[in-house]
Each structure stands twice: as structure tokens, then as C-alpha cells.
Amino acid sequence: MTGAALAWHQFRFDQRIFWRSPASVFFTVMLPILFLVMLASIFGNETIDDLGGMRVSTYYVPGIMTLAVVSATLVSLAISLTEARESGRLKRVRSTPLPVWAFVAGRVGNAIVVSLLMVVIVTAIGAIFYGVEIPGSTVPAIVVSLVVGASAFSCLGFALAAAIPTEEAAPAITNFTVLPLYFLSGVFIPQTQIPDGILDFAGLFPIRHFFEALLAGFDPTTAGAGFELGHLAVVAAWGLAGLAVAARAFSWSPRGG
């Protein structure tokens, strides 16, 4: 098989495994939907004056989208790669002729496809049930933000897996990394209610910037194309740093107990 065919082959099986796993279907697909429905049902009709009177349901669409993309990439990859490493499967796959890049492409491809699917689902639920306006002129900016974000958070997933010592520690370390950042970045709580100091702290990390880029895309008051290049640059820089860490420290052999 050619390289591209090998990557496709790997991707198809990674898809099958993803959809058969109750944990990945619940945490990556169902949980963001549940959060969106709950938050938009409870607070949806309120408006946020400091954001030009944006409806709360509109705010939560890019918010939950951020959650869903980070979950499908960083969280899923860090946990599943650690499990595959500790089970010996990564070491085993290294002994086959499958090129490393084809393996990585299959895994990242799976993460990105799930991310895009979640973006469509979250947008559709917002539009159909909560009257959230589907953006027009900002669609290219949203797509660019998603591509940059999904790629960067995938790199960070490989980097985080390299830092996780054992399979048992994977869910705890991963969630401890992202959960506080969701809250501090305004994904669950409108950012107008979060003190500036906390937002500044969250601004050191990529989740906040990824959310800001998506939020601009859904904000009805955004004029023009809505490209948030400053925010995307921070996300991309984190992604490149993750890539550098993964390239140095990612382990194919079991490490822990």
C-alpha cells in the first residue's frame, strides 16, 4: 500500500474503535451535547450586555464547541495513546512496516473528523432548538480556527501522553489539565462574570484563545471576516510547542506499571 492508503487504513480502524468505545462516545460526543442542552435551556434567553446584548445560547455554541474539539483531540488522544502505549500495542505497531507518520495521521485524522462532526452537531442544535444564528461572512474564519485548533490540540495530546506515566493516571491528569481551564476561560461561565485577573491567567493557555477565536465567529456584532489572528497565533504556538515535546519525549514502549 502507498503511504496515503496506509494512513486511510489506520484511520478506518481508529474510527471503528472510537465509535465502539462507550467511554469515547459518552465523554466526547454525548457530554458536550448534554452541556449545551442544559446550559442553553437554563440560561439561553438571557443576554450579555457587555457582549453587545449577545444571547447566552449564542455564547454557549462556540463555548461547547471549544469543549468538544479539545475533548475529541487533546483529551481523547492523551488517554487512548497512553492506554495503547502501556498495553504494548504501540511498541508492537513499531515492529511492523507501518510508517510512524501513517499511524499518527490515522489517529489525528480520527480526532479531526470527530471534531468536525461535533462542530456540525453543536451548531445544528443551537440553530434548531435555541434559535442561534448560523454565521455567514465569518464561516471561513471559523473553519480556519477549527483547523488550527484541532491540529494544535492534537499535537498537545501527543505531548501530554508523553508526560503521563501510567494508564491509570491518564484520565485524572488529562482532566485536571483541561477542566479548570474550561471554567477559567469562560467556556461554562460567561466571561463577563469572570474577574480580569483570572481571564488574564487563562490567557496564558490555548483553550482561552481558541474559544475567543470561535466566539468572534459566532458574535453577531463581529464586523467583516472575523479572523482573530492574534488568538490563533497563541493556539498555533502552543501546538508547535506540543509537537516539539512529542517529537522528543513520546514513548512507544510501556513505561509504567
Binding site: 496506509l6 471503528r16 504494548g88 500495542r89 511498541k91 505497531v93 511492523t96 512496516p97 514502549s253 510501556p254
Partner: protein, 309 residues
């Protein structure tokens, strides 16, 4: 002359100040089952992982299928098959899907269904790997090592943790691989496994090869004295024994009870003849009579310095 598949000369590997492998030589020829034995921490796994290309080395020449494993590429990896000491299969894929996934990694894989049959999982092909028993998972692992139609297979302790019947089945699989003409590099710490399967055996201890040969002749096993054991009938005493028998008594080896007599002799026919004639003349039975040579296990314990003294 037979074709050489693995050649190792002067291999050394250390971790910090620990010398794990201290200058070993090995040769494995095409079509042979080579068993590599040794206690834990003897350098066994380090050596195998160097041959498989997982680890580098500090010194020495290593040639596996005509290439240095450390520099070998995809084509080379298509010619070897590996069963790791520990590998959990992806629980969410069926047996057939797991084999299909790996088949896709190789340029010219073996037929999937036939390979599943070969390892005895035909009836389990549609079962998820997570529902297989430990022994069945291990056989699925062997199927993955075979699917690329490799010439050389590394089996690292393939039956550890198996019950006796699962081990028998696994041995049959290995025997059928040998019949397919595969070269097999087997590590194990079960002596009966090496005895049953191996054409040649090497024992590593303390980072060095301490014995090498066929299972029958290893460490002069075939030339070693024969051991004869029996229980001295209660009515008789050792002083009555014929001279040839009495002089063969190994006083230091009285295993078990006081009445247990152990003889060691290089003339087993003569000694046995006199012993049984003596017993017949007195019309007694020799309880627990056993005749044997040092087992592979005795040899192993002796050369690895773990003998009971």
C-alpha cells in the same frame, strides 16, 4: 552450508554502570528453532530487543536478515514478526478485524482466515479480542506476528502464564511454524518448552553465554553420569550392596528420606544389572526405582549458578 539469519559478534550493552550484555556471540541459521534461555535480569530481553531493533548497543556487530536492526527500514520490518512478552490486544476489535488491521501494514500478507485457523482461533474469528481468554489473546498475538509472512519470528516467552493444555496448543502452533520453514528465535524460562521445541539452545547468565548446544548435548548433558535412584528395602542395609553399586552411591545427594539411595555412574548398564540381580536374589522390590540423566533443568540450574549445592 546453511544460510545464516542472525549473526552476533561481541555484543555489549550497558545501562549506566550496569553491564547488561557483556560480549556475546550468537548464530542462528535459517529454519531452526533457537531457544534463548536465562534467568530474569540475565540480559535476555536486552539482547532480544537489540535483535528486534528496539534498542541500540555499545559495541559489537549485529546482523539480522542481512541488515543492522538499528538502521533497518520498512522492508526489513516486513520480514520479521514479533510476539512481545506482554501485549494486550485492542479489546474492541474482533479477532478477524485485528488480523485485518495488521494485514494492511504489510506489502504481501498471508491470507487472514487461514492465519486465524493456523493459530486455532477459527471458531473465535468474530469474537471481540476483549472477550478472549489469556491464552487465546496470546494466540491472536502470534497471528499478528505471522500475518506479514515473515521469515524470522521472535517469540518472547510465548507461554508464560498458560495452563498446561494451553501450552501444549501453543507448542503445536510453534511446531507448525517450523514446518512452514520459519526461523524462530524463542525466549523462555521453561526448560520443557526448550526441550520440546528447540533445535538449539543458548543459556545467558550475567550477560554472558554460559552454555550452547542442542537440548540433548547442552553442557555435556549426554556425557554426564547417569543417575539411579531407589528406596532401600526396609529389611536390608546398604552394606549388603555389591561393590560396583556401593561405590556409585552419591552420599551427598540423599534426597528425601534416609532410605533414598542415589547412585551416579558412567556405567549404568553394569551398575543396574548388579543392583537388580542383588534385589532378585533377595526377592525384594526396589521401590521408586528411577534411571535418568541430568535434565535440561539440572543443566540450566548448574550453569546459571542457581544449583541447590
Amino acid at each position: 552450508m546453511a544460510e545464516t539469519v542472525i549473526t552476533v559478534r561481541g555484543l555489549r550493552k550497558s545501562y549506566g554502570s550496569l553491564d547488561a550484555v557483556r560480549g556475546i556471540d550468537l548464530t542462528v541459521e535459517r529454519g531452526e528453532v533457537f531457544a534463548f534461555l536465562g534467568p530474569n535480569g540475565a540480559g535476555k530481553t536486552t539482547t532480544v530487543e537489540i535483535l528486534e531493533g528496539y534498542r541500540g548497543r555499545n559495541a559489537g556487530d549485529v546482523d539480522v536478515l542481512g541488515a543492522d536492526p538499528r538502521e533497518a527500514g520498512r522492508d526489513w520490518r516486513g520480514r520479521i514478526g514479533i510476539v512481545l512478552q506482554e501485549c494486550r490486544m485492542q479489546p474492541l476489535l474482533t479477532v478477524r478485524e485485528t488480523v485485518d488491521l495488521y494485514a494492511g501494514y504489510y506489502a504481501s500478507p498471508r491470507p487472514v482466515a487461514e492465519t486465524i485457523e493456523l493459530v486455532g482461533l477459527g471458531a473465535k474469528a468474530e469474537e471481540r479480542a476483549g472477550r478472549l481468554s489469556g491464552g487465546q489473546q496470546r494466540r491472536l498475538d502470534v497471528a499478528l506476528a505471522l500475518i506479514g509472512d515473515a521469515e524470522l519470528l521472535f517469540l518472547d516467552e510465548p507461554t508464560t502464564g498458560f495452563d498446561p493444555s494451553a501450552r501444549r496448543q501453543a507448542w503445536e502452533v510453534v511446531a507448525s511454524l517450523r514446518d512452514l520453514g520459519k526461523t524462530i528465535f524463542l525466549t523462555t524460562h521453561y526448560m520443557d518448552e526448550a526441550q520440546e521445541l528447540a533445535d538449539r539452545v543458548a543459556i545467558i547468565a550475567g550477560g554472558e553465554i554460559v552454555a550452547e548446544g542442542t537440548p540433548e548435548t547442552l553442557a555435556g548433558r549426554d556425557l554426564a553420569p547417569t543417575e539411579i535412584r531407589f528406596l532401600m528395602p526396609a529389611s536390608l542395609a546398604a552394606v549388603d550392596l555389591p561393590a560396583a553399586v556401593a561405590s556409585a552411591i552419591d552420599a551427598g545427594a540423599n534426597g528425601g528420606s534416609r532410605d533414598h539411595v542415589v547412585l551416579r555412574t558412567s556405567q549404568p548398564v553394569t551398575v543396574l544389572n548388579q543392583l537388580t540381580a542383588w534385589a532378585l536374589a533377595r526377592d525384594v522390590d526396589l521401590g521408586g526405582l528411577e534411571v535418568g540423566r541430568p535434565s535440561l533443568e539440572d543443566v540450566y540450574l548448574e550453569v546459571t549458578g542457581k544449583g541447590g549445592g
